[in-house]
């Protein structure tokens, strides 16, 4: 039982990270019908910004975090204007390739500016963790789980209880109708990119003390987060969260009870099963062409 509980905690902690990044995938997909393959790089850029501000410059952690978030908001806006907006009337493929290009550009820019050495970002708390009975609770994972749940609640409030949330939803559901209703669609898409970049940034900063800060950290997380969105249903916020936790738990338990070398394979095996049996994901709706 001790073994089981320890694995469950770890699986939920890792799953929370995937869920956060998956949330960014889903938001942009809902607003633009495009998968943003640079979502993982948002996490990496934010983590490096934290290293610069909090470690290299020695600024207070909270201040570094706020500045990093502001920088991520600017990055999200620039990303929208340069990567998505010029191609907004094209099919999804050029935009998708554009996001892949942006992902490579961001990775190589950070590599050129900061160098290849992986970096250490201290955790938010001085205490590395707590022993609760037989289970060790890593303090950083506790923060990750807490922040993910808080952001899910915030997202629910934003989309369901605020006017801007309704406008964002209207834009994601039908851009033409939203335009006819007087909603500034371009502005809503801009907000979506800014919010997604900030979300990705939060994920990167949260996970950095656990996985270290490296150029590859974004792509490693994004691959699993992408799998999470497929399981949950592309375009569904609740699905992304559930998918993220599912991937984290499946790979942790799969590694412990079946095989560690096939750890990554378990997650993608589930994805393949979903693509065969339920391609729309857990919460997705079947889409059919009208006659």
């Amino acid at each position: 039982m001790d073994f089981f509980l320890q694995l469950l905690f770890t699986g939920v902690g890792i799953g929370a990270v995937y869920a956060l990044v998956a949330l960014g995938f889903v938001l942009i997909f809902r607003a633009t019908s495009v998968v943003n393959f640079a979502q993982g790089e948002f996490s990496m850029v934010a983590a490096y910004l934290m290293v610069v501000f909090a470690v290299d410059l020695g600024w207070p952690y909270w201040l570094s975090f706020l500045i990093a978030m502001a920088a991520m908001a600017v990055l999200g806006a620039v990303f929208n204007l340069t990567v998505y907006y010029p191609l907004r009337h094209r099919t999804f493929l050029p935009v998708l390739i554009s996001t892949i290009g942006a992902s490579i550009f961001l990775s190589n820019s950070v590599l050129a500016l900061y160098g290849p050495q992986p970096q250490v970002l201290p955790g938010w708390l001085d205490t590395p963790g707590f022993q609760v009975g037989p289970v060790y609770l890593d303090s950083q994972y506790l923060i990750i789980i807490g922040v993910t749940l808080a952001l899910v609640a915030f997202q629910y409030w934003l989309f369901e209880r605020t006017l801007i949330g309704k406008k964002l939803q209207a834009t994601s559901q039908d851009k033409e109708m939203a335009t006819l209703l007087g909603i500034p669609v371009a502005g809503m898409i801009m907000i979506t990119f800014v919010y997604s970049a900030v979300l990705g940034g939060i994920a990167g900063i949260l996970v950095a003390p656990v996985l270290f800060v490296s150029i590859q950290m974004g792509s490693t997380i994004a691959l699993k987060a992408f799998a999470a969105t497929i399981i949950g249903g592309f375009g569904d916020v609740a699905g992304a969260i559930l998918g993220g936790f599912a991937i984290g738990i499946i790979e942790t338990f799969g590694a412990a009870y079946i095989s560690v070398p096939f750890k990554d394979a378990f997650a993608f095996l589930v994805v393949i099963l979903f693509l065969i049996v339920r391609p729309q994901g857990i919460f997705g709706e079947r889409v059919a062409e009208k006659a």
């Binding site: 320890q6 070398p261 750890k263």
Partner: protein, 380 residues
Amino acid sequence: MKFNRRSLNAGLAASLAAPMISRAARASDTLKIGMVLPVTGPAAAVGGYALAGAKIALDRVNKSGGVLGKQLELLTEDDQTTNPGAVLAFSKLAAQPDIVAFLGPVRSTQNHAIANDILKTAKPFCFGGTDPALTRIGNPWMIRFRPNDSYSGRVIASYGVETLGKKNWALVHSTDAFGTSGNKLLAGALDKLGAKVATDQGYPNQSQDFTPVVLAIKSSGADIIGSYFTYENDQAIFARQAKQLGLTIPWIGSASTVAAAALKLAGPALWGTYAVTDFAADSSREAKEFAKLYAAVSSAPPDLQSAWPYDAIGGLAVGINKAGSTDPGKIRDAILSIKGYKGAEGEYNFDQFGDGLHGYNIVRNEKGTIVFDKHIEFTD
């Protein structure tokens, strides 16, 4: 002076040809060495250390008069820390006919990937991968400037069983070529010493979590860990989680356990561990000298990643001078005839397979300081 079309054409031709003539003249003044190394990808940091080590040796050789009266010149290509990247990088270098020899990656899997192209190129290829098979695959051009894992496995087993008195082992290894072959040789060495393997845990590179591995070791009842980690961040994550989850048994790791990047990332989580490594700063006068030269150009501590390219450039210089020509076959024969060359990693005595080093150092991480314990050399 009168300009006409003919003089203008002649002037243009001269101005276009001038850089080529000057390049050709400069090219004949240097001997080119090609180097495949990771500049991007997960091992990019390691590539930086390797380049620094190679440049120190290059500078040293050139200041002492060069090779065959010419200065050495290093040309590099990024292997992107991938096998296809390594193949592409090597093919770019191999396409340059004036390159006389190559330095290859430190990762065995990438050396395996380019082994066929090396055979076709038929020029000396000095590399750092430690899979023993690399010098036994019938490719005469592959020359190793590190001890291979048949030695590291025996040293880990011997030190753990005979010095520390531990006979119930947990093995942790990457599932790539380096980790798998190292682990197999370690298991074989333990078997010969009568020790038992309580659990054998392979993991995929770039794992984000080692909780299942740590818990499996704890429940196996093992009293010591032997490990082969390929990437330093995996090593650091495992070290930290092992400490957090209360896994406190002795641990003897392969050389990545004392790699500069692993020490930086893991910090106190690696304190108290043992490692077998080809480079230990206190192991010899030459190692101390290299450490001093390296400290002048890098803030990172010197490790095997920078030491082996330093030795490879030095060994190549000795080999080419000894050969007295740039004929690839003569250079290869000259390098393989090197005996007693003292490098930063130890004394090089090449065998007929192309292995220069035949032993390992044992070191201990004393609160972040790497303390040299002893060197174990093999003659078989």
